[in-house]
């Protein structure tokens, strides 16, 4: 596979550029690597997965006759002698945003060939992600002890439990997979696999710093999904 972007004649931008890109026998995503294009297409499919979950949640909640549990108090934490609403969820939100920031910086330092800083930032991102999953496990344990089940709960509409476990469970799974890939990428960076373009263990593709950006896309997407879950499920 040879990338011949430099050999292509005049490359136009904007709407004309898009039509040109699609209308001839050539590569459509000119500035995106193969890995990046494929990651974006995967994320597009993932958008639909979570999109359908949220639509299903909307449908279940609108059709419920019993009142929907008040998330503000269901997810409250007893701290400093009073109930602070949504405290753990707020902390989880800030942790995920912080991890998105460190991830963005990791991509930047990766392209600057700064191995050590990139690896440290990737590890920090992974640790923040792991702590997010830990808090989610705590949240699940707390709710299960309070009697929340997929088929019912003591706070209101029975559909609440199924929606909660399904949506946050799927998101948590995504975070967990992300943490695993972050750790793998951090090791690859640290070992110099990307810098010396060594072939990988699984696919044999040669290492390059675009890999950090592609992992980053996945990680930012996980944060993006949480933004929607936080708004629609916890705050609504």
């Amino acid at each position: 596979m040879t990338d011949s972007i430099t050999a292509e004649p005049s490359v136009k931008t904007g709407m004309k550029g898009m039509v040109d890109d699609w209308s001839s026998d050539q590569r459509a995503f000119k500035t995106a690597t193969w890995d990046k294009s494929m990651m974006w297409l995967f994320l597009l499919s993932d958008i639909f997965i979570f999109g359908i979950f949220l639509v299903a949640y909307m449908a279940a909640r609108m059709a419920a006759v019993e009142p929907w549990p008040d998330t503000s108090s269901v997810f409250a934490m007893h701290m400093f002698g009073k109930d602070v609403p949504l405290l753990l969820i707020a902390i989880m939100t800030f942790i995920l945003i912080s991890s998105s920031g460190t991830m963005a910086l990791a991509v930047k330092f990766g392209y600057e060939r700064n191995r050590k800083v990139t690896a440290i930032l990737l590890i920090v991102t992974a640790l923040l992600g792991a702590s997010f999953v830990g808090m989610q496990a705590f949240e699940w344990t707390k709710l299960i002890h309070e009697g929340v089940r997929p088929w019912g709960n003591p706070f209101g509409a029975a559909q609440f439990g199924a929606t909660f476990f399904m949506i946050t469970g799927f998101h948590g799974t995504h975070v967990t997979i992300g943490v695993i890939f972050l750790v793998i990428t951090a090791f690859k960076v640290l070992r110099g696999d990307l810098e010396h373009r060594r072939p990988g263990f699984l696919t044999g593709r040669r290492g390059r710093y675009d890999m950090v950006e592609v992992v980053g896309l996945y990680w930012h997407f996980v944060d993006l999904v949480w933004v929607f879950i936080f708004a629609f499920f916890y705050l609504w």
């Binding site: 972007i5 430099t6 059709a63 629609f232």
Partner: protein, 107 residues
């Protein structure tokens, strides 16, 4: 081969700026709950903060503003179909809710 391609190179300040705004917007949407806003004020604020946050993450952290329109269009256009699903299921569940009230609660 990768070396010929446009790599995403942007100043640190852009990332810190977005990072800061994501924190501010998250605090703002949390405040909507704390302050106990209700109904349309609450919903419009939540959705606004959510969309701005999502936009910032996609545009800057995921480098969407620096990609070519071909990629941006292929990723952002299909999810618009989800709005059709929202409309269909909103109608449907509204109907289900009124049937349930009519036949199970009042019947």
């Amino acid at each position: 081969m990768a070396d010929h391609q446009a790599q995403q190179h942007h100043p640190l300040s852009v990332y810190f700026w977005v990072w800061g705004w994501l924190f501010i917007l998250s605090i703002a949407s949390y405040m909507v709950d704390i302050l106990g806003f209700e109904s349309y004020l609450k919903w419009s604020l939540i959705v606004t903060f959510m969309l701005v946050k999502a936009g910032l993450i996609m545009a800057v952290f995921m480098h969407m503003v620096w990609e070519r329109l071909s990629l941006t269009a292929i990723i952002l256009t299909p999810p618009a179909v989800l709005l059709v699903a929202v409309a269909i299921f909103a109608l449907e569940s509204d109907h289900i809710a009124s049937s349930r009230i009519q036949y199970f609660l009042m019947g």
